[in-house]
């Protein structure tokens, strides 16, 4: 079996008394669209926060494949130079359940901030607008326009991000995380608050991310028709535990999953 892009092993997170994640293990295959589902409060966002370095798991490993080997992202958080940004630089990007854009900056600036690391950050060349600075800036602007076009926001480059409609803000957030050139993108409820038409467009976009832009997608979503439509692998979380991990057909008929969503006699 090929080594998966992301391998999560025995993740355990406590918040005071509650076990938010209880020995969670799963894998995300390279080039797949994998969905993470579960009832409210199951711990899905907590998994994302661990993957993207916002929470440090108390136990367990998060292995991101790197060449032949793998890098443990939990380790990236430790030490003097460690931190969330190191995890992001390892190639994981994310969006947030409650959108987090740079609201008072323009749409294009949002995408330029995401390319911070590709730009020429030397103060002198910036002050004097040396050729190397201008070249890096122009490339970043082109890349930003490319992503605006991909998500269908080409006309909004010079609008304020906070002034966009809700659906467009969600798309901009996806474009922004793609501008960091990630290997894995984690989308936290990207369809929340979208109308049916926008949800269809989103499904197209997520498919395109995988097939055209060669990025692996991990998505949290409550909209079941969207999840069943786009993903080839589904992980179900309930009370901080993985209760099922299979393809959509199998998940739809899994009694444990049905029980978790609908509640069953013996659980009540």
């Amino acid at each position: 079996m090929v080594q998966p892009l992301l391998q999560v092993e025995n993740l355990l997170v406590r918040f005071g008394g509650i076990l938010a994640l209880n020995h969670v293990s799963f894998a995300v295959a390279e080039g797949s669209i994998t969905a993470l589902i579960g009832p409210n409060g199951a711990g899905k966002t907590t998994v994302f926060n661990c993957l993207t370095g916002f929470y440090r798991a108390h136990e367990g490993r998060i292995l991101l494949r790197e060449g032949e080997g793998a890098r443990d992202l939990v380790r990236e958080l430790g030490g003097f130079w460690g931190g969330t940004h190191r995890v992001a630089r390892a190639g994981i990007a994310r969006t947030f359940q409650n959108i987090r854009l740079f609201a008072d900056m323009s749409v294009l600036e949002n995408l330029l901030v995401a390319q911070h690391r590709q730009l020429n950050r030397n103060l002198i060349s910036g002050f004097l607008q040396l050729a190397s600075f201008r070249k890096a800036e122009a490339e970043a602007i082109d890349f930003a326009h490319f992503w605006l076009k991909t998500v269908g926001l080409e006309g909004s480059a010079n609008q304020l991000a906070g002034a966009l409609s809700y659906g467009n803000q969600r798309r901009l957030e996806i474009a922004r995380s793609m501008c960091t050139r990630p290997r894995l993108i984690c989308l936290d409820e990207p369809a929340a608050g979208l109308n049916p038409k926008e949800t269809d467009q989103l499904a197209e976009l997520i498919r395109a991310l995988r097939s055209e832009h060669k990025v692996t997608v991990l998505v949290i979503e409550h909209d079941m028709s969207l999840v069943m439509g786009i993903s080839e692998h589904i992980i179900v979380l309930n009370y901080g535990q993985v209760i099922a991990a299979a393809d959509p057909q199998a998940i739809q008929h899994d009694p444990k999953v049905l029980a978790a969503y609908l509640g069953s006699e013996d659980q009540a």
Binding site: F54, A103, M105, F127
Partner: protein
């Protein structure tokens, strides 16, 4: 309908008046004479009446509408070409540079102080306006620059030109020292710690008698120009400026010189900050102000970004301090009280956080205004506070709003 609203307003006004009377009545109305209380109700009653009328008037001011009238800051393609903007800038600079040739010594010194505050405003604008870190101890860096010059001269014979970069560097270093412990703080906590930092610096300067001279302060030498001094008779071995150029001696030349160098520093700083807003560092500062969590998720190291903002702002404050010391010829701790921090913060907030034009204009306004209103000197702080309240009501984001840079389709 209109009638009931009028009655409501009158009732609200009466209520406010009664509350005011209850609050101030015992304090203003009861006086102790000997062992007795003497009631004097006229002054609290006048005050209550005043509150009552003010409340009634306030009821007719459409506060909500004013508060929600944000002007649009979205980027626009400017009608003016870059050449025109540059020409306008050059014209303004030339005008400002010609001031010493016709203005009196008095107005030159007023302008020097105004420009020092412009510099301070520009420095704090980076920290508060761009990076969104509320810093109430900015005067600390100003003091580091000023004392850096005075102490450097006293102990190492440091001259003005050497003091400019060293002052900037030292203040930047202090910015980093302050930056490290406060990296995890936000908002109110950050404000309180920075406030303490500013006070600590002032207290050290005040109490470390052996080194800083304590409340007596220290002398700072006036600047020189290629080694030529602006004095009537040169100190040992020196050459006075007026002899080199065969001019009559005039004490105004020194001030004019300080003014011109300071103007150059201000122009360079304005250019630098304008560039910074279109550079990765400046954008990262603003992104940090907007959303720190999103920044981290994009791979930005919020620690270095915060530190760089603190250091950059502090160095500009340090340069302002060197100019202040050189111009005054003397530094003492009283010049670096909390009031200075508050004034600079007011400059940034009134001008419009982040907006360069706004900061420059409000710095000029707030430092020049007291000169025009000499007769009202006693009411200066009152007018000041009143202006702040009005601005906060009318334009909560400051007089001039920062407009985002516009990006064309290809490059620039």
């Amino acid at each position: 309908m209109a009638k009931t609203r009028l009655i409501q307003r009158i009732l609200a006004a009466l209520g406010a008046g009664i509350i005011a009377f209850i609050l101030v009545g015992p304090i203003m109305g009861l006086k102790i004479e000997g062992y007795d209380f003497v009631a004097n109700w006229t002054s609290p009653l006048t005050l209550a009446a005043f509150v009552c009328i003010a409340r009634l008037v306030l009821g007719y001011v459409p506060l909500d509408r004013i508060r929600h009238s944000h002007s649009d800051t979205a980027p626009r393609q400017t009608k003016r070409s870059p050449v025109q903007v540059a020409a306008l800038g050059v014209l303004l600079v030339v005008l400002a540079a010609s001031l010493p040739f016709f203005a009196s010594k008095y107005w030159i010194s007023v302008s020097i102080i105004a420009l020092i505050y412009v510099l301070l405003g520009l420095g704090l604008n980076i920290v508060v306006g761009l990076a969104g870190l509320l810093d109430l101890g900015f005067v600390g860096f100003y003091a580091v620059g000023a004392y850096g010059y005075a102490l450097g001269f006293k102990y190492f014979g440091l001259g003005f030109w050497g003091a400019l970069p060293t002052g900037a560097l030292m203040a930047g270093l202090f910015g980093a020292i302050l930056g490290f412990p406060v990296l995890r703080m936000h908002g109110d906590y950050l404000a309180i710690v920075t406030l303490g930092f500013g006070e600590i610096i002032r207290l050290i300067l005040n109490n470390w008698l052996d080194v800083t001279g304590g409340p007596n302060g220290l002398d700072a030498p006036p600047p020189t120009f290629f080694g030529w001094e602006f004095k009537r008779a040169a100190t040992q071995g020196g050459v006075p400026f007026h002899e080199v150029f065969n001019l009559d001696y005039s004490p105004q030349v020194l001030d004019s010189f300080v003014y011109l160098v300071l103007l150059a520093a201000v122009v360079i700083t304005i250019y630098a900050v304008m560039r910074l807003r279109r550079m990765p560092v400046g954008r990262a500062w603003e992104a940090l102000r907007e959303d720190e969590i999103a920044c981290r998720s994009l791979g930005l190291n919020h620690v270095t970004i915060k530190l760089s903002a603190f250091m950059m702002g502090a160095s500009i404050g340090g340069v302002a301090g060197v100019f202040f010391a050189a111009y005054q010829g003397f530094v003492s701790p009283v010049s670096f009280s909390f009031f200075e921090s508050a004034l600079v913060l007011a400059i940034v907030v009134l001008g419009g956080m982040g907006s360069l034009t706004g900061v420059v204009l409000s710095a000029l306004f707030l430092t020049m205004m007291p000169e025009f209103l000499r007769e009202f000197a006693d009411y200066r702080i009152l007018v000041f506070g009143f202006a702040m309240v009005l601005i906060m009501l009318w334009k909560p984001r400051g007089l001039v709003q920062m407009r985002r840079p516009y990006f064309g389709l290809r490059g620039n």
